[in-house]
Symmetry: C2
Subunit: 195 residues, 2 copies
Amino acid sequence: MTELDNLAFALSEFAGLTSEDFLESENMWKRIDYQKGDCFNEYRTVCKYLGFISKGVFRSYITDEKTGDEKNVFLYSENQIVVPFTSFINQVPCNYCTEAITDAEVLRINVYDLLSLYKKSHAWERFGRLLAQTAFGVAIERTESLLFRTPEERYLDLIKQHPEIFDNVPLYHISSYLGIQGPSLSRIRKRISDE
Amino acid sequence: MTELDNLAFALSEFAGLTSEDFLESENMWKRIDYQKGDCFNEYRTVCKYLGFISKGVFRSYITDEKTGDEKNVFLYSENQIVVPFTSFINQVPCNYCTEAITDAEVLRINVYDLLSLYKKSHAWERFGRLLAQTAFGVAIERTESLLFRTPEERYLDLIKQHPEIFDNVPLYHISSYLGIQGPSLSRIRKRISDE
DNA sequence: CGCCAGGTTGAAGCGCTTCAACGTCTGTGG
DNA sequence: CCACAGACGTTGAAGCGCTTCAACCTGGCG
């Protein structure tokens, strides 16, 4: 049960949920194991779950219809929430495919259970608001980094902020997230190490 | 009073607010006129107002501390809401400066009045949720366009989606929003017209 | 008229892209 | 135990588009 403790701790950090608040939700969380490549939520389906990652890394990506290339829009790593926000919050079909890029363990909760928590409890309602605000913050931060920072700076930012992602994730997923091609990331890394 | 009618219409379109719902808010909206260059909300101040633009265009920008260059993060145009979302929603100091880039007319509402409407009325609560979701959608869309589309495509998208912005706004504001330099936009425009 | 803001153009440069070749490591089957 | 294949990463060469800096054009306005 250490994953649940872990989750309870993360939720109290994130939204000030007490262990009592958490208890109300405890039997709603189901542990799911994912293997590398498994989908958390498929393209064009409505996302019904919000996940908390105990272990592993996920990505949301879009496939270019012409070239078939995949591009990563978001990465989600350990002790974070994984969810394609727009689809989950609005209960609409998702633009992305969201999948595990390493083997992973997730505790997940159903959207309806979560909504019932919102109704029942002020603390959970607060969680919902913070979730939306966080989602917005993530998107804004990504916008600003693409607008203001060079690929090299974005790479260094990512190392600093999410070093755990570099453990098991192939670099081509990272270059895709940074908005550049594999060989470019290679050269950036070389440039940095040459200094 | 045609601006208020206009607002009432826009709000019913946006969030299904009826004219009764709107009446509850009517005396909370104040009309403010801005001249080109006037600030809607200054850098590092907490934004206290949400505005509805009857006329004109606004921008939110960040100033590069090293070079002094300004870069536009968002543009807001007629019959849209103008608000630096993060600052307004979380009531925290704003990363941006938000200012009029043409002469403008705005109807604006105080954050406390808006919160009181949320409390009083389910329809207004819904407005609040849609506002947050819209903010999120705008940010995501911007992320994706920077990640997936070329400057030329972004330019064509902007013409298609917000032609009204091109009426009075100097092109260097537009190039800044697109994430490119003035001369680059010039060449893109030439390239397009040469075809 | 002359100034200034806004926009275009030229030339040089840099960084990312593209395509292709080549390492390297890992796992798998003979 | 070796051989080979496949996945991943690096490197080279050529190209393209955006940047930068500077010059220049245009229209509006005092």
